[in-house]
Symmetry: C2
Subunit: 175 residues, 2 copies
């Protein structure tokens, strides 16, 4: 469901001014255009991998409170935003592709319970690069990761945020 309009070239990106560049990549990290703004001075990027390395590097070296805010900027899976239709375009596409916006009543109840348990245990939403998993795999990971200790799980979520960013860049720019 990526339209031609969403696609651009790295060459064109490398020539944008800071405002345009930040707007173009502002959604690669959910509701967090600061990541794009911070790497703008490092242009030109040789390839998608180099651009992603820079962006992920900013995320991984950000303060803990900033990383926590980034996690909290993510929607729950099949959660309130999905029901209200207020997901970002990228999240809506990703959740739809994984079958997470077309669930049975049992699946909806199971995910609602997992969302609530996870939020109560960790204080941030479950983040997973749904582009790497089937619906079954997402649910298995959700259950498995609930047993992690909070620090491990925080780190896994930040890694998953970076993986989501890579998938979004590949979709925009090709890989």
């Amino acid at each position: 469901m990526t339209t031609r309009r969403d696609r651009c070239t790295l060459d064109a990106l490398n020539r944008l001014d800071e405002t345009e560049f930040t707007r173009a990549l502002g959604d690669v990290f959910e509701h967090s255009p600061w990541v794009a703004a911070e790497v703008w001075p490092e242009r030109p990027f040789a390839d998608v991998a180099a651009l992603h390395r820079s962006m992920a590097g900013r995320v991984l070296s950000a303060s803990r409170s900033r990383r926590l805010a980034l996690l909290r900027a993510h929607p729950e899976l099949a959660g309130r935003e999905a029901q209200e239709g207020t997901l970002t375009g990228s999240s809506a596409r990703e959740q739809a592709r994984a079958g997470l916006l077309a669930l049975s009543r049992d699946e909806i109840a199971r995910i609602a319970r997992l969302n609530a348990d996870y939020r109560a245990r960790f204080g941030f939403p479950f983040v997973i690069a749904v582009g790497n998993y089937t619906k079954r795999g997402v649910l298995r990971e959700f259950e498995r990761r609930l047993a992690n200790d909070p620090e491990t799980e925080f780190d896994i979520c930040v890694e998953q945020v970076c993986e989501i960013g890579l998938i979004r860049l590949e979709r925009m720019l090709g890989n």
Copy 2:
């Protein structure tokens, strides 16, 4: 691609004699009907989860050489058996569903290299429950797991074998 013919009920399974039971479940663990034969005396099983717990328990408590033989009974991803059409029915369905039997030339080359590197490093094929992953996810896991130490990777493969068994039971019996 599960046909009605593949499906049966747990109730019917519980009533089979040892030979029939082992034939019916002989493929749940790849080329390893001994797992089914060993749990037959434990019938009746209350549900799919109980049956799977018994079967996975036999695998996890088997000797190391038997677990290694079980790993080695698995085909490579998009490997020789896939090219020669000699995959088991279950493996063929699973690899096809994940898009692993319809690859671009670049993807075929990438997987061939990963298969060779992995086999050289660990001495058994890369085992992954492809029912939980997209094609992209399979490739990411393949690259990520190549960096594991051999003992960790052995254990992950045995876990994945059990997960594959669960997926096959769910497909046969419903979940």
